[in-house]
């Protein structure tokens, strides 16, 4: 299968000297959904910013055979879209329609093409008819969906989603997962950063675990990774908590969707 993204020896340091990424290596297949999990501050979002060329680290990043450098930035960004964690950063135009059409209009498409692409994107995320709404007045779940529509309207092959389900209630989360399924069915390559093990379980083809050393510590099919409780515990991805069974109080790690023995 085609490797669509190749990352080799990627290092990044923030201007204040903090290590952002520490020798990151991984590859992503075309059409694959890779879920990147890791505790807070392990460099997942920094990785995305590096893949998009917003932050410039050292090392080698290749997207669809094109090496990421300043000269290729536009070409790479044309085929790869990133959705920010906070939709208020992503939606900067007065109305939803303005936002969704911002990308395609910048690509120089004609007005008709832009409108068609924007409407298609809004339809895909279930926000048809929201075009003239003000982004500020949307609910958080709607904002999250509008944010992904702003990228979908540009029809990228690769989507980077930073914490797509954070802050969403269960119903909005399941709506979002449906959108991800639709995108998978279209053959898009998805990179999803999350803390949400449940989301990983739902959509991941492979899981990449980031450690607190700011690098991937494990990569593999979601079943094997999620079955490795020791690994997940070590990297702060499952909670260990105390709970009651009538009079018995005991403590064990806890994962949603998995039965456990008492």
């Amino acid at each position: 299968m085609d490797r669509i993204i190749k990352v080799h020896n990627l290092n990044y340091r923030y201007p204040d000297g903090t290590v952002g990424l520490n020798d990151v290596n991984f590859e992503v297949d075309a059409g694959e959904t890779m879920v990147i999990i890791g505790a807070n501050g392990t460099g997942k979002s920094t990785l995305f910013m590096n893949l998009m060329g917003v932050l410039e680290g050292t090392g080698h990043v290749e997207v669809k055979g094109v090496t990421l450098n300043r000269a290729n930035l536009k070409e790479i960004r044309r085929g790869m879209g990133m959705v920010f964690q906070n939709p208020d950063d992503q939606l900067f135009c007065p109305t939803v329609m303005d936002d969704v059409s911002f990308g395609p209009a910048n690509l120089g498409w004609s007005s008709e093409e832009v409108t068609a692409a924007s409407q298609k994107a809004l339809l895909l995320v279930g926000l048809e008819g929201y075009g003239s709404r003000t982004s500020y007045h949307l609910s958080f779940g709607e904002k999250k969906r509008a944010a992904i529509a702003t990228i979908l309207s540009m029809n990228p092959n690769v989507l980077l989603l930073d914490e797509p389900t954070s802050g969403l209630d269960p119903r909005s989360t399941s709506k979002f997962i449906n959108i991800l399924y639709a995108l998978k069915a279209q053959g898009k390559t998805l990179l999803v950063v999350t803390h949400d093990i449940f989301l990983a379980q739902e959509v991941a083809d492979r899981v990449l675990v980031f450690s607190e050393e700011k690098r991937p510590i494990a990569i593999g099919g979601y079943k094997e990774i999620l079955a490795d409780t020791g690994l997940l515990l070590k990297h702060n991805l499952v909670h260990q908590h105390r709970h009651h069974h009538d009079t018995l109080i005991h403590e064990h790690e806890h994962r949603h969707g998995y039965l456990h023995e008492h």
Partner: protein, 265 residues
């Protein structure tokens, strides 16, 4: 674009901007002594209100929020303008002469700005802000200005919310002691707000760059002028030239020989 049954709300924003500006221009250019004209302008605005979704009362209430600012500016003009004394305001020991020139100027400012405000309120209550910006854009207002304004419109509420959250967080942990130290807390809050805004601006900029922004601001045309827009503009222009030329109201019948002095006001 709003789709309702009301003519004013269905008009292209460009039509509204151009024709309302024309009305305001005529109001400003009409000498204050042709007071009958202002009655006609007032009637024109009232009849325009009839074609909007709002009521006359609502327009007036909203205008009343703005008029005090004009009043505050115009209030001292009658006392400051030099000229023939018309009336003497006595406050205890002090005497403040009001001049004819000053009184006319005051009337001039108040009448013209009140009418303009009424029109402005009418325009803003029948046009959404994003549509208004698009109208300005299509009328070739510099894109940079429009983009700045739209950012302001988009983020002012986000900022207000953020400030409100900070204040709330402070209020919940403030128990009334050490009153003076609270000032430094307010200082920190302003600082935090600034840094957050600054960082948000950086994130927004990267979100824009990632969607192909390279300094040129794209525009998608989404409005089309219809026959209604042409009819409306033509109608307004005919009425305005009627008022200005005095055809509608036989202005010639009003003898205001002395008042010609004030035409230059």
């Amino acid at each position: 674009m709003i789709t309702t049954n009301h003519l004013l709300e269905n008009l292209d924003p460009r039509t509204k901007i151009v024709s309302f500006l024309a009305v305001i221009l005529c109001i400003i250019l009409t000498p204050i002594t042709r007071y009958k004209d202002f009655e006609l302008y007032f009637l024109l605005i009232l009849s325009l209100t009839f074609f909007s979704g709002t009521t006359v009362g609502r327009i007036f209430r909203r205008a009343c929020a703005l008029i005090p600012f004009i009043l505050a500016m115009a209030l001292f003009v009658p006392f400051l303008k030099e000229g023939q004394v018309w009336w003497l305001l006595k406050v205890g020991y002090w005497k403040f002469p009001v001049t004819y020139e000053g009184a006319w100027t005051f009337l001039n400012i108040m009448v013209k700005s009140s009418l303009s405000i009424l029109l402005f309120v009418l325009a803003s209550s029948t046009t959404t802000f994003p549509d208004f910006l698009k109208g300005l854009d299509m009328l070739r207002m510099p894109r940079l200005l429009i983009m700045l304004t739209s950012f302001m419109y988009r983020y002012i509420f986000v900022l207000i919310d953020e400030a409100r959250r900070l204040m709330r967080a402070r209020a919940m942990r403030y128990f009334g002691l050490r009153y003076k130290e609270q000032f430094s807390v307010v200082g920190y809050m302003v600082g935090v707000l600034f840094i957050r805004t600054f960082e948000r601006a950086e994130r927004i900029y990267s979100a824009m760059v990632l969607r192909g922004f390279s300094g040129e601001i794209p525009c998608v045309k989404r409005f089309k002028l219809s026959y209604r827009d042409f009819l409306f503009t033509t109608g307004v222009c005919i009425l305005l030239s009627g008022i200005m030329s005095g055809l509608i109201y036989k202005i010639g019948s009003i003898k205001i020989s002395d008042a010609r002095v004030w035409i230059g006001l």
